[in-house]
């Protein structure tokens, strides 16, 4: 019962999806300075039309298949299931070309940029996965690429910096603020203000001004679209009992949840990064610590001071080290549609090691946070739990080595 693969480009219009004004409940919108208005407005007016063009869909799905290697397997993790007493399936985004889910979005956005006539690409990156995925599609299309990355992340994700350079991208360090993902995003936005005509900004998560959260979510929704037919093949049912994903800005989660948002029997579970602990002052657990506000052009939950200054987050994983979450997730949280958990550095590292030794899969530390769910929640033996294995751990080897003294 394999689906055509084109449904992911059409919104279902349910109450957890974006409305025509760009909001998920009270979250979303486009809180941008006028300098960005022409670009964002052009994108808003055209993104759905372009995504729905037959030639676009054909090219998008061809690339996902032949270049990215989709569909990514849905793998029954037998030993992990035995250990935790549930039927656990892994959605193997780690097997995508470039090693994470990020490439689903960059393939879509580079095709979008081409149709908008843009000749220069900018991106922000935390773990470097989105930077690599962007540099990759820019190499593929022969388009100039500049990636902004926090100075601290450049140090802790060195292999990805080298990959981006090898792919021909220019990596520019963000040296302001916490020198991580938030600041890299600021720098990318400033670049876009300075280069409004020829440049497209490929945002790497389900964040930013409308239509970005929705556009990124639609490109990532291929994840849940595949889960549906893959689970039908394996379990004779389309809907699992739970879908679980880690949340930085929320793109792998948004893609994993998308086709289940309006299926109330599917439990939605989000795992954020608690860093050294929610109350430690060094954390990125936005749902627990955040308040509604404006970050990077979007009204959403974010960590901030009482005076409205954005707080510098912390997580051992660069990809989750962000003080906000995408507006869809703020809505899933406040509406109670999703259960939110957070995992500490230690819990995520332990879960990463466990997955390595039980299943022979070394996950990205970001994904390790999702697998820490088993330290927080007890499932029933016949619960079908689909885990988003958002990326592979190659980029994190040094962090694993240092942490476990391997």
């Amino acid at each position: 019962m394999k689906k055509s693969g084109h449904d992911s480009l059409f919104g279902s219009g349910g109450k957890f999806h974006v409305n025509e004004k760009g909001y998920y409940g009270e979250f979303g919108g486009a809180f941008i300075p006028e300098m960005l208005y022409p670009n964002v407005e052009e994108l808003r007016q055209k993104y759905l039309e372009i995504m729905n063009e037959e030639s676009f869909q054909k090219e998008f799905h061809q690339l996902l298949k032949d270049y990215v290697g989709r569909p990514s397997p849905l793998y029954f993790a037998k030993r992990l299931s035995e250990k935790h007493g549930a039927k656990i399936y892994l959605k193997r985004e780690d097997l995508n070309h470039t090693g994470a889910h990020k490439v689903n979005n960059t393939v879509g956005q580079i095709l979008m940029a081409k149709r908008l006539g843009k000749t220069r690409i900018i991106a922000e990156t935390g773990a470097g996965q989105h930077g690599v995925a962007t540099a990759t599609v820019c190499a593929l299309m022969g388009i100039h690429c500049v990636v902004y990355m926090g100075e601290i992340d450049i140090a802790r994700q060195a292999p990805n910096v080298a990959r981006m350079k090898m792919l021909g991208a220019e990596v520019r360090p963000a040296t302001s603020g916490s020198k991580t993902l938030k600041d890299a995003t600021n720098e990318a936005i400033r670049d876009w203000i300075n280069n409004p005509v020829d440049t497209h900004y490929i945002i790497g998560s389900a964040i930013g001004p409308h239509p970005y959260p929705d556009m990124v979510t639609r490109f990532q929704s291929v994840i849940s679209e595949e889960i549906k037919w893959q689970l039908m093949e394996k379990e004779g049912r389309e809907n699992p009992d739970y879908v679980v994903a880690c949340i930085g800005g929320g793109s792998n989660a948004a893609g994993t949840y998308y086709h289940f948002l309006d299926e109330p029997e599917v439990g939605i579970i989000a795992v954020e990064a608690a860093g050294k602990g929610i109350d430690s002052g060094e954390s990125a657990a936005t749902s627990a610590l955040g308040k509604i506000g404006i970050i990077h052009g979007c009204k959403t939950m974010l960590m901030q001071t009482a005076d409205g200054q954005i707080t510098e987050p912390y997580s051992i994983s660069a990809g989750l080290d962000y003080p906000g979450v995408g507006p869809m997730h703020s809505h899933l949280y406040t509406s109670g549609r999703a259960e939110f958990y957070s995992a500490t550095d230690d819990e995520a590292m332990t879960a990463g090691l466990e997955l390595s030794q039980l299943e022979g899969i070394i996950p990205a530390i970001e994904s390790g946070h999702a697998f820490a769910i088993f330290q927080h929640k007890k499932f029933k033996p016949d619960d079908v739990v689909v885990m988003s294995l958002s990326g592979r751990g190659d980029k994190d080897l040094q962090t694993y080595i240092d942490y476990f003294k391997i």
Binding site: P33, M35, R190, H296, Q304, D307, G308
Partner: protein
């Protein structure tokens, strides 16, 4: 009539200065405002510092970071400005990003501004449509003008929309850039200045971004009603302190 509207009627080109509140030191805010007025500045934009100033270049970013480290907050600023109308009569505008205002409470923020004698706000990331639907009534209740930005990329149609929504001046961003960029004014800017002048808008325009000295001030105000100096003034404060503000202003005034 609002002080901004009154000032805009004066028959001269207006010099407006932006500085970041709480920079270079927490307590310099009031002295800087008083010195600027004494030296003939027509209008002041008091920058409320924000942790993530998206539309600003390194100079204003650094002054904002320093001001926050010095302890500047909305509350502190309001306390510092409590008696400002006893000594200062030129228009005062608070310029900042929307999130600190949102956290303070938009109504409470506007009420405070009104009590102090602030005349208007510039919040670059509060979009026109959200302002009109959610906040316009509050601004008007407290007699505050909201100034919108336009850029060389803004379409004529949108400029007309913004003109309609404005009651003070239109903040005309000189080029496609964040604040403090070095580029002078070339042919592109001149064409843009001409284009805007030809639209014959209801609201006067004040040019900002990239104005740093008498030459750029004169170029910017050939068609427009006035110009705003920001980064260049902050650089001056960084290098010279707050002791001889007159030497900066007297080169232009």
């Amino acid at each position: 009539m609002n002080r901004i509207q009154q000032k805009l009627r004066e028959d001269k080109k207006l010099l407006s200065i932006y500085f970041t509140a709480g920079y270079p030191s927490l307590k310099s805010t009031v002295q800087i405002i008083e010195d600027l007025e004494k030296n003939g500045v027509d209008m002041i934009e008091i920058g409320l510092p924000f942790s993530d100033p998206l539309a600003d270049g390194p100079t204003i970013q650094e002054s904002s970071t320093a001001a926050l480290k010095n302890g500047m907050t909305s509350d502190v600023l309001f306390k510092q400005l409590k008696d400002i109308r006893k000594t200062v009569s030129i228009p005062l505008i608070i310029m900042g990003y929307f999130n600190p205002v949102l956290q303070y409470g938009v109504e409470k923020f506007c009420k405070k501004c009104h009590e102090i004698g602030i005349d208007g706000l510039i919040l670059p990331d509060l979009p026109l449509d959200v302002y009109e639907s959610d906040y316009k009534a509050i601004f008007e209740k407290y007699g505050l003008l909201n100034m919108f930005l336009i850029t060389p990329q803004t379409s004529d149609e949108r400029i007309r929309q913004i003109d309609k929504a404005s009651k003070g001046f239109i903040y005309m961003v000189s080029s496609a850039s964040v604040t403090g960029s070095k580029s002078g004014f070339g042919k592109e800017q001149e064409a843009y200045f001409e284009r805007i002048a030809a639209l014959k808008l209801a609201n006067p325009q004040i040019v900002g971004f990239g104005i740093k000295d008498i030459e750029t001030f004169e170029k910017a105000t050939r068609k427009a009603k006035g110009a705003i100096i920001g980064s260049a003034f902050i650089k001056f404060l960084t290098e010279n302190g707050t002791g001889n503000i007159h030497s900066f202003i007297n080169k232009i005034r």
